[in-house]
């Protein structure tokens, strides 16, 4: 593609920061989902002014653009359509300022989630600091991606999702204008545009700097593993703990198939005969932690917990968490492909919905592992399969559809942390009617009246009909 648009990008960003070779185009035509689109060109801006240059060029040439962090998204949110201009933020990865006393930092959107916590960790000599949202992909996902998806993670049960940890954003809109929304101050004048941008899946503009809130490390942490004969008992423990007035840092569950896969993979000493395990973490000051630990263990035992394992060292704690966070790597040993789902249900419906999920996959002759944020009711059914098997993809998608419908029917929502992207766009009417979706489209138009920012995601047509792109026939959703 040699055209005026490309020539202009090369001139303004430098030839090394603009790629349109076959390999680059192929690499950036998808994210971590199964959905493949078509990138027209890939840009690597190094500054806000580079992003302004790219967006002005897109605006003048009527080219759609798709901003992308590390490409770890699972819903096709960063999959470009219609030869869109892909804007990778990976070179905007600096920590600009850190305010240790007020616990804030301005960082580039390409900063990796875990790198941010590592960078600030030792700056507070009394407690230590970290960035609270901790998606399982935190080693490789970016802060900009976290902002786009309003990402969660196990510790968001007590600490809240990304929106609660973002104070301000610098955003470039599709006309090339630069704005700071939100602020280090508590009540900036006007509407909470910051809150609207977080979770907007790159459809409002390009975020070029983020002011994050940092969280002090807890002085005391207790990590425990409970095992049960079935998931229902584990889920009952979760509800009982919350009803008793405690919000642990994390309440994570794995079912039997998952426990076995993970144990084979990391050798964390998990009870492979258990129907479910619950990983519980409590943190804070000493007396509170001891008090909560005692009560939670009592509640777990009253709800059928067979054994309690306490992590007695930081190594043991890390091992238990490694089991949880690498669950997705472990499944490759069962089948070569997997499809990871993400829905939320009210906690009290967890046992029923899980039973229904088992029934759905059995019905379709598939295999499912469950590893999920039980405290939030955030399910992550992981369907494993071998895509060489004829007709299996259709069954995988059918299972996905039924799982989403079951979750919404139980009073839940389509997505807890992965976002809507392309994957769930056409499920939006399960939760929202045309008027509801029109309101969301109105919010988007207020930021991007031109429909150039990541078009055709999140909102099903006709709510997104102002968008500058359509879905190609070849796109596999």
């Amino acid at each position: 593609m040699i055209d005026a648009f490309l020539t202009r990008l090369r001139r303004e960003l430098g030839p090394d920061n603009v790629k349109d070779g076959r390999v680059d185009i192929a690499l950036y035509s998808h994210d971590a989902s199964n959905m493949v689109g078509a990138a027209g060109v890939v840009c690597f801006p190094e500054s806000t002014s580079d992003v302004v240059s790219v967006l002005r060029a897109c605006h003048e040439h009527h080219r759609p653009f798709v901003v992308r962090g590390a490409g770890t998204g699972l819903a096709g949110g960063a999959t470009p359509l219609d030869d869109a201009c892909v804007i990778s933020t990976i070179r905007m990865n600096s920590v600009d300022t850190v305010d240790v006393v007020n616990r804030t930092a301005w960082v580039g959107p390409g900063m990796l989630n875990l790198d941010l916590s590592r960078t600030v960790s030792d700056l507070d000599p009394v407690f230590g600091l970290h960035f609270a949202p901790d998606p399982s992909s935190q080693q490789s996902c970016t802060i900009g991606g976290n902002v786009a998806n309003n990402s969660g993670g196990p510790h968001c049960l007590a600490e809240g999702v990304t929106s609660s940890h973002v104070l301000a954003l610098e955003i470039v809109l599709s006309d090339g204008s630069v704005h700071v929304v939100g602020g280090e101050e508590p009540e900036p004048p006007g509407l909470d545009l910051r809150g609207a941008v977080v979770g907007s899946e790159g459809m409002f503009g390009v975020v070029t700097r983020v002011c994050v809130r940092l969280t002090p490390d807890p002085p005391h942490v207790r990590t425990m593993l409970f095992d049960y004969v079935d998931v229902a008992k584990g889920a009952e423990t979760v509800s009982a703990v919350i009803a008793a007035g405690m919000v642990p840092d994390a309440l994570e569950m794995m079912d039997q198939l998952c426990i076995r896969a993970v144990e084979d993979y990391v050798h964390a000493g998990l009870p492979t005969d258990a129907g479910a395990v619950l990983l519980v973490e409590v943190s804070g000051l000493r007396h509170q932690v001891e008090h909560d630990t005692e009560r939670i263990v009592a509640i777990a035992r009253a709800n059928g917990c067979r054994s309690v394992r306490h992590a007695h060292s930081e190594e043991e704690r890390a091992l238990l968490w490694k089991g949880r966070k690498t669950a997705f790597g472990a499944v490759a040993r069962i089948k070569p492909n997997y499809y990871l789902h993400d829905t939320v249900v009210p906690r009290r419906h967890l046992p029923d919905v899980l039973q229904e999920i088992y029934r759905i996959v059995a019905d379709l002759d598939l295999l499912v592992l469950n590893v999920f944020h039980a405290g939030d009711g955030n399910l992550h059914p992981l369907i494993v399969f071998d895509k060489r098997e004829p007709g299996v993809l259709e069954r995988v998608h059918e299972a996905g559809r039924r799982i989403v419908e079951t979750s919404v029917a139980a009073g839940g929502v389509l997505s807890g942390e992965h976002g809507i992207g392309l994957e769930k766009r056409d499920y939006m009417p399960l939760m929202f009617d045309d008027d509801d979706l029109a309101a969301q489209a109105g919010l988007r138009r207020a930021f991007d009246p031109f429909g150039l920012a990541n078009p055709a995601k999140v909102l099903p047509s006709p709510s997104g009909c102002g968008d500058a792109a359509t879905i190609d026939d070849g796109v596999w959703i």
């Binding site: 700071v180 004048p189 910051r194 809150g195 009210p346 976002g419 939006m428 929202f432 009617d433 509801d436």
Partner: protein, 305 residues
């Protein structure tokens, strides 16, 4: 259109009728949070409506509560407290009024801002149409986060009809204490060593500390600073929003109390009027959600401030 629940029918009909006649409507609560001078116009609405009142569903093990936006906070708190919970919204008046105003209370430092409380709402728009915004679970990224924009929007984008908010468990103990003779250096030292206080209020000399938690932890945290129990100070009516360090610098006028680490200064004199950032985005939002300016005409639009 979202099925209109019975308790929103009348509100929805009144807004629809007013819209058909192109007449303006203002929503009123209990009048506890009046507009500031620089937020108001001289216009008076033709009609006045209120959101319905009453708790509709409270599930302690889900830590959420759904209620009419006209529910008085005192009434809501009484229901929540019976199950050992509370909602992170201060003051009296209605829950809808508190959300539309968007002012966090003095515990923001530890408990977070009011904007994080709203999970889902049924919004009645300028045409009287009911719109579902957000979702009923604490964790939810289904669609754009319009709920955040509604908190603090002063009713310019629609009328909050019904709201679902997250609750929080009451701590084992909540305690206010005060330390006297705290200068900037001492203030920084105390702050550095306190683990997640829920509030720190400073008037330039005294530091009030609010802690939630286990009583023994609270004792241990306060011990080394010679703190004594005290009630929090009375707060002046005006709110000056500044970056947290700047807020500490301005403290000095009679009656000033600053929320340390937050940046809010409670003052006797009004804060100067300020322009919004991204005024074009504000203007387009206001036009999208209320093109004929039928809602709350007494509120000056953000894009025009």
């Amino acid at each position: 259109m979202t099925d209109v629940p019975d308790h929103l029918v009348s509100l929805s009909e009144r807004l629809r009728d007013a819209a058909a006649a192109r007449e303006t409507t203002a929503v009123i609560g209990l009048g506890t949070r009046p507009l500031l001078e620089n937020e108001s116009t001289t216009d008076v609405a033709r009609h006045f409506v209120s959101a319905p009142s009453g708790v509709l569903d409270f599930q302690p093990d889900e830590m959420i509560v759904r209620c009419g936006a006209g529910t008085p906070l005192d009434e809501l708190r009484a229901v929540l407290r019976s199950a050992g919970q509370d909602v992170n919204i201060g003051g009296s008046g209605t829950i809808g009024g508190a959300l539309a105003r968007g002012w966090s209370d003095v515990h923001r430092l530890g408990r977070g801002p009011i904007r994080d409380v709203l999970l889902e709402t049924l919004l009645v728009d300028h045409r009287g149409t009911t719109i579902r915004v957000g979702g009923p679970t604490v964790k939810n990224v289904t669609g754009f986060d319009l709920a955040r924009v509604l908190v603090g929007s002063l009713g310019t984008l629609g009328v909050l009809g019904e709201v679902t908010v997250r609750t929080r468990p009451l701590p084992l103990e909540s305690r206010w204490s005060v330390i006297d003779g705290v200068d900037r250096r001492r203030l920084d030292e105390v702050r550095r060593h306190l683990y997640r206080p829920t509030s720190l209020l400073w008037d330039g000399g005294r530091l009030w500390i609010h802690l939630d938690g286990h009583p023994q932890d609270i004792d241990e945290q306060l011990q080394r600073w010679g703190a004594r129990s005290d009630s929090p100070p009375a707060l002046a009516p005006h709110r000056w929003s500044l970056p947290p360090d700047d807020a500490l610098e301005v403290v000095g006028e009679e009656g000033d109390v600053v929320e340390v680490g937050v940046g809010l200064v409670h003052r006797r004199r009004p804060a100067p009027s300020r322009r919004v950032t991204a005024p074009e985005v504000h203007r387009r939002l206001e036009t999208e959600f209320d093109p004929h300016r039928l809602l709350n005409p007494q509120v000056k639009r953000f894009s025009e401030r």
